[in-house]
């Protein structure tokens, strides 16, 4: 379940300041040094001083990973409804409208066909700035169709996760998307094409407990928070404080849950080598 606030898509950028004539400055979420937006943009939002990985938008990820930054979008027309007519003081429809404006996206995942170093792939990326990347019916449907088309077209799947979990505002139907996406993934296995999962910061709840850790290969970014129960839930349940680095990438690797921690600078080359080893594309 999503226990992360949906208002903070850019953790680490909270101290964004504008000063006349000098462009935008950002304070590094790792070491606190002040960086220009341009410098950050040049390094794919990795601090040149301490290596801290600041969150990137799906558009940045497309530019980093996909040939020509190009994504042939699938299922953008699949749009959210309001099955429970959910209202928590603010209506769900209103929240959706705000999320669309904030993120510039139609829902919390973008999917489509792309190429990675010449390998054709079915590609998806969660949109954390859209209601915390939460999985409702649209995310479930788009991810399910992604695996179904990859099955039909015999394409490898590369899926980037960044989500607080299931979307509360769609209730039980959100929970059912876990079943739907995982069932589609299980069918995809039969075509013997690789499924490479990449977990970004953060990947928790129902998304962590569905497709995120079921990759043939699981990759993670440095220092990403990945786990089933959010740290606050665990702290309040057990009335304890959590150890340093709990549920972070290094913790997951040490506990055998992920294959590799891959810095952004090596992400595309790592994917490329994996795709060639596992027979992705060029079929």
């Amino acid at each position: 379940m999503s226990s992360l606030p949906d208002k903070t898509p850019a953790q680490g950028f909270s101290n964004e300041k504008r000063s006349l004539g000098k462009g935008v400055f950002k304070k590094c979420g790792g070491c606190g040094s002040v960086l220009t937006a341009e410098a950050l943009s040049d390094t794919w939002h990795v601090c040149s001083g301490c290596g801290y990985h600041h969150p990137m938008t799906p558009a940045d990820w497309r530019r980093l990973l996909l040939d020509g930054g190009a994504l042939e979008r699938w299922d953008d027309h699949v749009a959210p409804a309001d099955p429970l007519r959910f209202d928590d003081g603010k209506g769900y429809r209103e929240r959706l409208e705000r999320a669309k404006k904030q993120s510039g996206q139609t829902e919390a995942v973008e999917v489509g066909r792309a190429h990675i170093a010449g390998h054709p792939v079915a590609y998806g990326c969660y949109v954390f700035s859209f209601m915390g990347g939460s999985m409702g019916s649209v995310v479930g449907e788009r991810v399910t169709r992604l695996f179904e088309r990859a099955t039909t077209d015999r394409l490898p799947v590369v899926l980037l996760h960044a989500s607080g979990g299931a979307r509360m505002q769609e209730g039980i139907l959100s929970l059912m998307q876990m079943a739907k996406t995982v069932a589609a993934l299980s069918r995809f296995r039969a075509v013997r094409k690789p499924y490479i999962s990449l977990c970004l910061h953060p990947t928790t709840g129902g998304v962590a407990a569905s497709t995120a850790l079921l990759g043939d290969v699981n990759l993670v970014e440095p220092n990403a928070l990945i786990g089933f129960a959010g740290p606050r839930v665990i702290e309040s349940t057990l009335r304890t404080t959590l150890p340093e680095g709990f549920q972070r990438s290094e913790f997951l690797q040490n506990h055998g849950m992920v294959d590799r921690i891959v810095p952004r600078s090596e992400m595309k080359s790592t994917l490329t080598v994996l795709l060639s080893h596992l027979g992705g594309g060029r079929a």
Binding site: P80, A81, E170, I172, L185, A209, F228, Q247
Partner: protein, 316 residues
């Protein structure tokens, strides 16, 4: 033993009086017609009283300390139950029980969350909240069922998967996801029944059935009402409001297509009469199971795929 919720008091008294009469009628056959008339009247009254329950009151019933748990149903529904233990990786998890059993004339694999009825029992059962090893035992049992072509009967009754430090260290998310994948792919009939609490992903790992049944006063939700209220309104005491908004009661779930049938409970709820509750479940469970007769392994997997494939609400 006599744990009574405030709102169920009148119904409990009514059911109690019928029970007394039943004992009297046992000794005096002349009372039988009168008893039958009263039983019917009481059942009708109890049903009327409970028809107006708020969603949160149903949640309270689903958590009732006298409610029948998985092993209570196993004892009443199955013969030759052989419990199987352990995940072959790390540990045995007593919050999730399973094994082989005979259901009518058929051998089946049975599995379910198991709560404890006392504090001492709950030390062992962890309040029905499995750790990863529980889900890995479930995976073992699903695979066993697939290999020996045995149907799976699953019983859901959990507040959720355990949110603990060690659970995270051992991969709670992966264990649940993997259980869902295996349960989705096996080529045998699968019937899931929500008998109490259907708490989120921890429930779903036993929830991928060709048919999904729910007891009348059970709930199934993406998050507990308390958790939802804490996130939305920073106030867990607003759980009744969350319970209403989340649409988690049996009739809501039927309307949303997430369950296929509601199993009526005895007057006053399953905790009033475990034997009667089991008899009612037996009828629905058997009907669901035989409805899958004649399907090939591939057809069974495809049927399960289609059942979940259509769930969701969107505009396209």
């Amino acid at each position: 033993m006599a744990h009574v919720l405030a709102f169920e008091k009148p119904v409990v008294e009514l059911v109690g009086r019928v029970r007394e009469l039943r004992e009297l009628a046992h000794a005096d056959a002349r009372l039988a017609p009168e008893l039958k008339r009263l039983e019917e009247k009481a059942a009708k009254l109890a049903r009327e009283m409970f028809s107006k329950l708020e969603p949160m009151q149903k949640v309270q019933l689903s958590r009732h300390p006298n409610r029948p748990y998985t092993l209570d149903y196993f004892a009443r529904l199955f013969d030759d139950f052989i419990e199987l233990s352990g995940d072959r990786c790390f540990a045995e998890d007593a919050s999730l029980v399973g094994g082989l059993a005979r259901y009518h004339d058929r051998s089946v694999v049975v599995i379910g969350h198991q709560k404890g009825r006392s504090t001492k029992e709950n030390m062992v059962r962890n309040f029905g909240m499995p750790n990863p090893e529980g889900y890995r035992k479930a995976i073992r049992l699903y695979e066993l069922a697939d290999r020996f072509r045995l149907p799976v009967l699953a019983f859901v009754d959990t507040p959720g998967a355990f949110p603990g430090i060690e659970a995270e260290e051992r991969g709670q998310a992966e264990a649940i996801a993997h259980a869902i994948e295996v349960m989705a792919s096996i080529g045998v009939p699968v019937v899931t029944t929500v008998i109490g609490e259907g708490g989120s992903g921890g429930a779903l790992a036993l929830g991928i059935g060709n048919r999904v049944l729910i007891l009348e006063f059970s709930y199934y939700s993406v998050i507990s009402p308390e958790g939802c209220a804490a996130i939305l309104w920073k106030d867990g005491s607003l759980a009744p409001r969350a319970a209403e908004r989340l649409k988690i009661t049996a009739p809501d779930l039927l309307e949303l297509g997430c369950v296929d049938a509601i199993v009526d409970e005895p007057p006053g709820g399953a905790h009033q009469d475990h034997d009667d509750a089991a008899r009612r479940l037996d009828r629905a469970l058997w009907e669901a199971l035989v409805s899958l007769d004649g399907l090939s392994p591939d057809e069974l997997t495809a049927d399960r795929y289609q059942r979940f494939r259509r769930l969701g609400s969107f505009v396209a």
